[in-house]
Structures are given as structure tokens and as C-alpha cells.
Amino acid sequence: MHEWALAEAVISSALDFSKENRLKEIKEITVALGELQQIDREVFDFALSEIMKSKGLEFRVVLRRKKSLLKCKRCNEEWSFDTGKLNEQEKESIHFIPELVHDYQGCPKCGSPDFKILKGRGVWLDSIRGD
């Protein structure tokens, strides 16, 4: 369950943000889950609520899947990540470290491993609402 570590990161940065900006309370946070990292939404959700419970926190958490966008540096082709032919272990590696997609997949058009991850990499704290 390495989702737990990421959930912890989300909660601590929301708390840090609210402290820095002197929020009285957090009402809602929106978290983007980049497709590449293949976060198990249920596990992540569970971890979030457990961590919040343990800290006595109560606010709404909105989870949004974010489609990935990859762009080839050689031929400019753009595409979205697809677990396609990857085996379990390869998927798992990308789940831990999204950049490792470079080790296992190339550009679908020219095969180059030199591509950029433009969107949908991993866990991102999109917004915090509070007052």
C-alpha cells in the first residue's frame, strides 16, 4: 500500500497550506490522480480517510482522474498512456515511479524512448477551499 505515503503527502501539504494562509478551516480539497501512476482509487480514498480520522480532520476530498498526455521529442507524436502490453511487474514499476514508463514503452509512432510527460503524471493537489 504505497498509496498511503502519497495520501499522507496530500494531507500534510493541505495542512501546511492552510497554516501558511491562516485558514480557519479547510472545507474541500481537490486531488488530481494522474493516469500514469495508476493509483488505486479505493485504496487511496481509504488511506485519506484513515489519516484524516487519526488527525481529527473533516473536509471533503474530491478525487479527479487525469488523463495522461505524452509527447515524443523526436517526431512530436502525442498520445495517452495505455497499460496495453505491459506485464504486472512493469505496471507496478510505473505505479511506483511514473518516469519509469520510459523504460518500458516508446513513442507509438517512431519507438523513441525520448518523450515528455506533459500531463497526468501522478498525485497533485489541485485546489484547497476553506475560510
Binding site: 500500500m1 505515503a5 502519497l6 503527502a9 514499476s93 511514473p98 518516469e99 525520448d114 498525485v123 493537489l125
Partner: protein
């Protein structure tokens, strides 16, 4: 907002000292120095971790001879496996057979991701085997850790120039430096370019190669005993 940045501090809370073994160049012995240092510290009774961040040329696992079955455990994050008493983490646990060349932004992201998910627990020392180079991509995420830098060089003039640059870079950025270790010394007396920053030398040790992958043998090399003398100045 990147949620990883603020949890990194928390992940390294239980670590007393972080030593980044660096040097502008490749092939000068950074991996040997960091791995053998970790082995010695563990032997001396320190709780020690070793983190291999040289993604394009990971070698600590080869030096320590970790087997295929050595894998991190998942528990509210990633728990590094223990190798010869050392908590060891390397990207080789996850990377493919032929690692791809990575760009700066990817390297930063990987380092942050590793620091965010790895749970080291309580350590006296974490040794980091750094990649060659001194770009922001590498040093920015490391700066989140308050590491002390140990700079490795060889007697070659080419390497010495790089180290001088490295030292002034560390000074300008206010990063603590432990000093310079000269590795692969050939002549008995060589010049000391670094004044007070100079920690000592390790000679070229032709028996080293045979000991790679065999921790007990590594500990008995001249390399190891010379490194221990230098370590006394640091620990």
C-alpha cells in the same frame, strides 16, 4: 501544488545525518566510497541507510552483491530491504533491463518520488550515492534533505578542476561540505589542491575488482582501511 515536497521532511525526520557522496564526474569511485562507507558504518554499529541515486549507472547493488530476491516491502509506503545490515534503496528494484536516458525534470521527479515514499525509520546515517554532475535537477531535490556533501576526486587534473567548481558551487549555495576525498592515488606524494577542505587519499587498489559483490572481502581491502581512516575525521 506538489504534495511531495512537504512530506519529504517528515520522511527523513528519523535520520540524524545525511551524507551525499558526490563529484562532478563519473568513474571516480563515488559508488565504491558510498557503499564501502555504509558497510563500515554498519560494522561499527551505526544504523545506516544507502540510497543509490545514480539512475543512469546504478552500481551500489553490484558492489554489495544484492540478490534478485532483495526487494523493498510495501507498508504505508516503501520499506527498503536490509542488505549486510544496511537499509538499501535503489531504482534498480523497479527499472527495466535497459534504463532509458532521462531528462532533468524526470530526474527531479524520480528523486522526489523516492524521497516521498521511502520510509527509512530511525537511522544514524544515510549515505547517498550521487549521480555525476551538479545540475539543479539533482541538487534541488537533495537540498530538501539538508545533506552534507563529501566530494570525491581523482588526482587527475581534469577531475581536480571539476571539484574546484563543485566546491565553490556548494559554498555559494550554502550547502555544507565535509571536504574532498582523493581516490585512486597512484604516486606516493601528490599535490594537495584543496587546503583545509582536503580529507585524505585512497590509493589505487588493484585487488578491489575481485572483491566487488562480496561485502566481507570488500571490508578487508586496502581501499576499505584507507577509507576508514578518512571516516574518522567525519564521524
Amino acid at each position: 501544488m506538489d504534495p511531495r515536497t512537504c512530506v519529504i521532511k517528515k520522511r527523513i525526520e528519523g535520520i540524524k545525518r545525511i551524507i551525499a557522496v558526490a563529484g562532478g564526474k563519473g568513474g571516480i569511485g563515488k559508488s565504491l566510497v558510498s557503499s564501502v562507507m555504509a558497510l563500515n558504518l554498519s560494522n561499527m554499529g551505526y544504523r545506516v541507510g544507502l540510497l543509490d541515486l545514480d539512475f543512469s549507472g546504478p552500481s551500489a547493488h553490484l558492489i554489495l552483491g544484492t540478490g534478485r530476491s532483495t526487494q523493498p516491502r510495501e507498508e504505508k509506503g516503501v520499506i527498503p530491504p536490509t542488505v549486510c545490515g544496511i537499509k538499501f534503496f535503489s531504482l534498480v528494484f523497479y527499472s527495466g533491463k535497459k534504463p532509458s536516458p532521462l531528462r532533468g525534470i524526470d530526474i527531479s521527479n524520480i528523486i522526489k518520488e523516492i524521497l516521498c515514499i521511502t520510509r527509512w525509520g530511525e537511522l544514524d546515517v544515510l549515505v547517498i550515492d550521487m549521480p555525476p554532475g551538479m545540475g539543479d535537477a539533482i541538487l534541488d531535490p537533495i537540498s530538501l534533505m539538508d545533506a552534507e556533501f563529501l566530494v570525491v576526486t581523482t588526482p587527475s587534473l581534469v577531475s581536480v578542476g571539476t571539484v574546484s567548481k563543485f566546491l565553490s558551487f556548494l559554498e555559494e549555495s550554502g550547502t555544507p561540505s565535509l571536504g574532498v576525498l582523493e581516490n585512486m592515488r597512484i604516486k606516493e606524494t601528490s599535490r594537495n589542491f584543496f587546503g583545509a577542505d582536503f580529507l585524505g587519499s585512497i590509493k589505487l587498489d588493484l585487488d578491489l575488482e575481485k572483491a566487488l559483490g562480496k561485502p566481507e572481502k570488500l571490508m578487508q581491502t586496502k581501499f576499505s582501511s584507507e577509507l576508514r581512516e578518512i571516516m574518522e575525521k567525519v564521524f
